[in-house]
Amino acid sequence: MEANRQILEAELEREIFTHSQTLFTQTAKSRQEQWIENLVKTTLLILTLLIIFPLILIVGFLFYKSLPILSFEFLFSNPIRGMRAGGVWAPFLGTIYLVVVSLLVATPIGVLAAVYLNEYARNNWATRITNLAVVNLAGVPSIVHALFGLGAFVLFARMGRSILAASLTLAIMTLPVIIASTKEALGAVPMAFREACWNVGASRWQTIRQIVLPNSTSGILTGIILQVSRAAGETAPIMFTGAIFFKALDEGNIFAYNIFDQCMALSMHLFTISTQVPDVPEALPYGTAVVLLGAVLLINAVAILFRVYFRSRKKW
């Protein structure tokens, strides 16, 4: 009897055991899904590397080619001998002037316009058309902005070709993107914060000033940072409105330009020495490109520091 029971139990156990062997194992369907999963993952990885690879190549190549010429002296001396030698001081400072002045104009106007559109404007047809116009303006080619700047600032407003006219043109070009990205940043601030303020009697402006803006600063700065690179890199809008081929400048004096003067700019200088001037040593354009890259990174780095600071204060 006892022996019988043991046999029975053993058999039962074996049966359960054999059954459990096939439990949770792969079926044809799950094997196929696994295969697709691996394929997708690998493909995406390769595509990502393909994007990064050229970037590293470009930067590496630039540095390699410009190595013989890169030095502090290159940065702080003017081009000489018909731009076939010397440094990039005048165009470097010109680019900084153009970017800074255009941001000084575009940032307050863009941010405040976005505040109006996001916080005050009612959702009616006029607002919707304005929003649509902002989005579409962001897609206007820069050469069109250049012609607008030439007509409006240089000729009509009688600014002449100057840093001011060129910066305003750049500002017009960057405004729509700043407005769009600022609106997005403001929209990301939870409605509950606004409600909390309104219900203790805060006006819209008190709410915006004390809660909404401080909590969207990092997002707003991100939008502005992206525009720095764009403003520094564009050649067309400044070519008609304020940039010139050559100007000798006080070396090392950061106040050497007057905003009513014309200026050199890195992007245009690069174009000039690569295509317009014969017999330029090979390292010169590469060095100029590295300085342009470095200037953009420098301005970005400052903005990124701000952003990190503001983001660390934001938690919800």
């Binding site: 009612r122 959702n123 909390a196 309104w198 203790v200 009697g201 919800w316």
Partner: protein, 268 residues
């Protein structure tokens, strides 16, 4: 409930109402959310507002400090009197109105600043810059936190971010930040629905202690809660006020069949 409020309520001198509406109609665009609401909400008590989702309870609540108008295209007709004053009169200042009529929300919504700054926020925006000395603000913060019995828990955390507190503490803080404004009425829009039972109990207890000094109007989905804490109760359906009365009467012997169906859980 303390004796004073009880006396005010049942005294023979007639009842005192903090909020009275007269044929109040309200539209969001073309949609009529409130239809001919005429109610009187007694002073110094907890009054409950019940009804299924979308019946207009929250909308009605938001009419009482006119914060509805911040949500876009709305139209209001009729009359709302708070402490006897029609809040649609032309001389009514919205910041002053909202100071007197505070609101607590479903999800605790402390501002993303410190506990201290949260409490003092309301007082600051209603006064000139530099109107308070440090010791005055310290006193305001301490008193407000004591009133909601958070002082012991938070007195060493005044500088920490309010959004990092536990939910129960956050909700109490949201009540505490109204108190420095010396409100007459506190509107609560399902203040416990994001909280667990223990926290709900704590908030209800707090409401009872506050009820003697402030008129509290609470919207709730929780029948049991309405029964536990409110003295009077209003039942709304599809933008209309169906029935109101003392809470016990409303729950024990509802006059309208729709009320009976709702509190017995046949719809909701």
């Amino acid at each position: 409930m303390n004796a004073g409020a009880e006396a005010k309520y049942e005294g023979n001198g007639g009842r005192i109402y903090s909020i009275e509406t007269n044929r109040l109609n309200f539209w969001y665009g073309d949609f009529q959310a409130l239809i001919d609401i005429s109610i009187s909400i007694p002073d110094g008590l907890i009054t409950g507002l019940i009804g299924p989702s979308g019946c207009g309870k929250s909308t009605l609540l938001r009419c009482f400090n006119r914060v509805n108008e911040r949500y876009g295209n709305v139209t209001t007709t009729g009359e709302i009197k708070i402490m006897g004053k029609n809040i649609y009169d032309s001389d009514v200042s919205l910041p002053e109105l909202r100071k007197a009529v505070g609101m607590v929300f479903q999800r605790p919504n402390p501002l993303p600043i410190s506990v201290y700054e949260n409490i003092i926020f309301g007082a600051r925006i209603h006064s000139q810059f530099g109107a308070f000395s440090k010791s005055e603000t310290d006193g305001i913060v301490e008193q407000a936190l004591k009133e909601v019995s958070l002082w012991e828990d938070l007195k060493d955390k005044l500088k920490s971010k309010a959004t990092t507190l536990q939910l129960e503490q956050q909700q109490k803080l949201c009540i505490a930040r109204l108190l420095p404004l010396k409100p007459q009425v506190i509107l609560m829009d399902e203040p416990c629905s994001a909280l667990d039972t223990k926290a709900t109990h704590a908030i209800e207890e707090l409401m009872s202690t506050l009820a003697s000094r402030y008129t509290i109007l609470i919207v709730t989905h929780n029948m049991a809660q309405a029964r536990r804490i409110s003295k009077e109760c209003f039942f709304m359906l599809l933008g209309e006020m169906v029935e109101h009365g003392r809470t016990e009467d409303l729950f024990l012997s509802p006059q309208d069949p729709r009320t009976a169906d709702y509190i017995e859980g046949r719809y909701g």
